[in-house]
Symmetry: C2
Subunit: 200 residues, 2 copies
DNA sequence: TGTACATCAGTGAACGCGCGTTCACTGATGTAC
DNA sequence: TGTACATCAGTGAACGCGCGTTCACTGATGTAC
């Protein structure tokens, strides 16, 4: 009858378990990211609504809005690294080039499925790039496995890894601009093109 | 004595020249883009302050905020195409690979010198990508000149062009994240790496 | 040449809104004695 | 076993702010007669 928001009555945490709300807030913020445009749309009040709590409650876990965004960034980078690790582990051991491909697919799959998260992580000015370094290192390691298996790389392993990750990052940025320009192929083909360039 | 804003008293345009203000508004908005974070920071009131006019005056030239942003996008894409065209024209005719390099440099130079503009143009969801298509076509044409001069490409010209532009776009996105990850080389080296991959 | 009026460029003041943040509070659950 | 008090999780109401947008206006410059 009333305009039923999708937020049911919340049961407050038990004595001594107040820290749980911190996780609930991050989950709510993460859910919000899927639907909104940019970082500016991530508001204290919006997150509070999504979490089914009062805005003031957020201040027991984050000193201000900036701290909330920062906490969310760490949370999301954890998710990306997890996704890439799983993709790598799922690929067969005896196909090192396939593992590189799997890692890159894990990367862009996360980026495509979580555009809001990805934008927050990589598209804002003056932000942290250390986590991206870890991603590059993963790819580099996979490339070195290829070389040990006899494949020739046309650039040093690290430069190849940077080229691959950065190029995929660029392609993902295009994907997020919704309509793919005419003549630009799929992400999968793009990664295959890249790999064919990197390998001799 | 008072907090002197950098906005001197404006002289209003003469009778019949009201359209001039439209250009002044776009110029002011463009100046603002250099200093602010994202599209959300581009406010009607902020642009009015930068232009030295009343907020209400903007509504004589743009129906609402969305129209202002749209007008600004067209204005900025015009500037990018101009910059790339000049870079291409400045390169020597007898070095087709050099012209490809010059185009890509023109591209990333614009992007690096105008981070706010570039973000507005390419980093927001559901945006226009037709202008990027024109950029790709320019590079493709330059690549075909290389082939006519006897250079072998490792991928069809169009795919090569897409790979180049998209990869540079990705690298630029990294640049905008201020601190370059350790081990990632300069934009110039990155473009050279890319070209060495595309050419056989 | 006057004079009444139309058109132009641009504005000041106000509106309602959602925001971040603060502060005193409520009610439940634990602890000291 | 009571009882007074401390600590916990979480809130309601209010604040000041900047925003987009509207509207009736001002004063200068053109045009009709």
């Amino acid at each position: 009858m009333a305009e039923a928001e999708s937020v049911p009555a919340r049961v407050r945490n038990r004595w001594g378990e107040g820290e749980r709300l911190r996780g609930e807030i991050l989950e709510a913020a993460s859910r919000m990211l899927s639907e909104i445009g940019g970082e500016d749309a991530l508001t204290i009040r919006g997150v509070a609504r999504a979490a089914g709590i009062a805005p003031a409650s957020i201040y027991q876990h984050f000193t201000d809005r900036a701290a909330l965004v920062h906490g969310l960034l760490e949370y999301e980078f954890g998710r990306l690294q997890e996704a890439m690790g799983e993709a790598d582990a799922a690929a067969p051991d005896d196909d090192p080039a396939g593992r590189v491909r799997a890692q890159l697919r894990g990367y862009y799959t996360f980026a495509v499925e979580n555009p809001g998260h990805y934008r927050l992580m990589l598209n804002n000015g003056a932000q942290r790039t250390e986590p991206l370094r870890e991603v590059i290192t993963m790819v580099r390691t996979a490339l070195e496995r290829c070389r040990q298996a006899g494949t020739v790389l046309r650039l040093p392993a690290h430069q190849s890894a940077v080229t691959l990750v950065v190029a995929v990052h660029g392609r993902v940025g295009l994907q997020h601009s919704s309509t793919r320009p005419h003549g630009v192929r799929t992400l999968e083909s793009f990664v295959d093109d890249l790999l064919s360039l990197v390998f001799a």
